[in-house]
Subunit: 425 residues, 2 copies
């Protein structure tokens, strides 16, 4: 294996300036950003990114899914025109009134890594590509660009997208795209040698453990369900409490018991009841229906299935206890995505070389890396999130942690490139 | 005391025909009725009622609150022009897709009682008036006509009515009324000697006890509150369950504990959590706020206050348990209204004379009688509701029970009139 140039570092001033400038697009009153996919301000941010790519002397391209790429043709002559590309990336779109780091940091650090390697004049076994994936956050579809690139988008999804069919068509139109292009943006394992993504953790684990770098082992699988408890609408003044079939009782018991079940029996998992509506929804009418939305997550498919089964059994138990009907509908199930062990080792090696405290952990949030994991060796680098939440203007990571992450991305890129990592996942 | 003509009975065929004809106004697909106050179909039903009054040879009048009255000037010459009037009534408006009996039965039975007494040529110490009160159900304000007559309407209420200011003004306009009239529709104790209302129970107690007639002792007081549990919005994938401040947990615990508290410590009372919204309301965000609406009822003011205090203490306890903030806002409090013991005795005497099984009970629902209770001796007659709920097309009482109720209304009217019941409540 060739010697890894361990002294290379990202340029802190250049990365800081990019970060500050990007944060201006869609800045909100609370100092967060609103850049929903294909909104005017998101397209402006992408135009700015294109200028930065061209200013760095890199090749710029857009694929059929609207993914924006900077390419550095640094492959050794031996690789010839069949050189594969190592992808580094994340996304520039955000949730409404989200934070400045989510996605943005990963894209800017990827661009910076290409600039550093270009400036150093390194020749590698692969070309490098910094990519900004379309609609990671799900304004329209969710993980749209990365799923398109991995060849995982289906016509059925496009027919009934999460944000509505009309919004999808209008968004594509604003970006100069169309459905046919989305379905032909896929790349092959012959083209892509691997994928690396730097991202904020969006959770408290690294900080609470005093760690500087997280090496992601897997991205959790997520299942979401709609539960409907059905009782009887009665006059809330004239119907004795013991005679009621109150749908709210079943839903309330499920909310409490689901939390206990996760804490006691599924300590590595999470579940969340995020939606609840009582119908008909009047002070003086006993709730006839309680419509509840929950999701649960696990990094293991077997455990996810056991967790789902336990939660559904609990819901059934509470329905019976309060003499209610229960309908459960599976809305979606995404299997966990495993990160490549070789890529994990490359990230850990880079952190080690930089003297950064690191640990392996699963990602509780979804990321573009989960799309790529089925196509090529993929991995993610996490940096600590400070208290204050994510998908919120309070989202924050220290700048030193951001720089650490970018330098680990650089080191892991060099390790993956020089090891000529193949497509084995 | 003069002899009470115990053999008088309402005319079953005449009352049945009226009931069937009235049910056509606003009939819904499910055989219920939709007659919101001052809607076109409600005004048509009132026009039909006016025709029935005139056809019976009774005097028809409308007051400033839009209450429609049939008057029988049956007072003995001795009472002179200062004869007081005994009011019998209820309301012809309904909730959307409500039942055919709620309110309608009481108005038609009152008209029938006047016809029977007119046909019998009886002279009494008082005049009689069958009244259809405006907007009992609260499309616009709730108990509007009866509160106006009792002099209880305030300008503040009219400025911010339950159904919205615009709806009130438009409704009044459609009925040819205005605010000034509403505030001058009040009558005095010198004019009104008492009030009697026949109504369906809207609950299961009479039926489950095998009773034919309920003698209402009081109309419950109602307090309604808005509770806001406040936690922290976190990413539902990346935030460990034990680190969350999940507002839904506090709300769910309150829903379960409120029910237990009423069953165990306030057996004669009721409470209902009819509304709950989780915010921001997404599958993947831990609920930051749970906004909950509840009401509670008791026939005793002291007990109502104790119940409120116990429920609020429970909410505070649950908020503390889950480390949540709590705000509680009293939205409204209506004191219980006591029914006159003399009127209760008149109703019980009439039921006794008819050989009907009767019992005394509090009304869990609000009625026009609660407005009148502060003006004059008031009472209510309940008949059993069959299973199937109220404020619903499933609302049902047997026709024999309706006839029993109308005959008790007749008997109680004669007793109240002949005893020259005064305004002592």
């Amino acid at each position: 294996m060739p010697t890894i140039p361990e002294t290379l570092r990202v340029d802190p001033g250049r990365l800081w300036e990019d970060f500050q400038n990007l944060s201006r697009f869609g800045r909100t009153q609370e100092e967060g950003v609103s850049r929903p996919a294909f909104s005017a301000v998101h397209l402006q941010a992408r135009a700015w990114f294109r200028e930065r790519v061209l200013a760095a002397g890199l090749k710029f391209s857009v694929d059929g899914a609207g993914n924006h790429s900077a390419r550095l043709d640094c492959a050794l002559p031996a690789a010839g025109k069949h050189a594969r590309v190592l992808l580094l990336g994340s996304h520039l779109d955000s949730v409404p009134n989200g934070g400045r780091y989510d996605g943005a940091l990963g894209v800017l650090a990827a661009l910076e890594v290409l600039r550093v390697i270009k400036d150093a004049g390194l020749a590698l076994p692969v070309d490098l590509e910094a990519i900004d994936f379309s609609d990671e956050e799900g304004t329209l579809l969710g993980l749209m660009g990365s799923r398109a690139l991995a060849g995982k988008l289906t016509r059925a999804e496009l027919a009934a997208p999460r944000g509505g069919r009309q919004a999808l068509l209008e968004g594509l139109g604003r970006a100069g795209l169309d459905e046919a292009g989305l379905l032909t943006a896929n790349r092959s394992v012959q083209q892509v040698s691997g994928y690396l993504e730097l991202h904020i953790e969006q959770g408290p684990r690294l900080k609470s453990q005093g760690m500087q770098i997280g090496v992601v082992t897997a991205i959790v699988g997520i299942s979401s369900y709609r539960l409907v408890f059905t009782g009887r609408a009665d006059h809330a003044g004239t119907t004795p409490v013991q005679d009621r079939l109150d749908a709210a009782q079943g839903a309330a018991a499920f909310i409490l018991e689901a939390r206990k079940l996760v804490l006691q029996q599924f300590p590595g998992c999470v579940a969340n009841v995020g939606l609840l509506v009582l119908e008909p929804g009047a002070y003086n009418i006993v709730p006839q229906r309680a419509v509840l939305g929950f999701e649960c997550r696990s990094a293991s498919m077997g455990e996810l299935e056991r967790l789902e089964a336990a939660l559904l059994a609990q819901a059934q138990h509470e329905a019976q206890r309060y003499n209610l009907g229960l309908e459960a509908e599976l809305l979606s199930r995404h299997a966990p995505a495993m990160m490549s062990v070789k890529v994990q080792d490359a990230i850990a090696g880079a952190a080690e070389a930089l003297g950064l405290a690191h640990t392996r952990l699963a990602s509780g949030a979804g990321h573009d890396a989960q799309s790529l994991a089925s196509l090529c060796s993929s991995g993610m680098i996490f940096i600590p999130s400070q208290e204050g939440g994510s998908h919120s203007p309070r989202e924050h990571s220290t700048w030193q942690d951001c720089l650490n992450g970018a330098n680990v991305l650089l080191g892991a890129t060099l390790r993956m490139a020089l090891q000529q990592m193949d497509q084995t996942i």
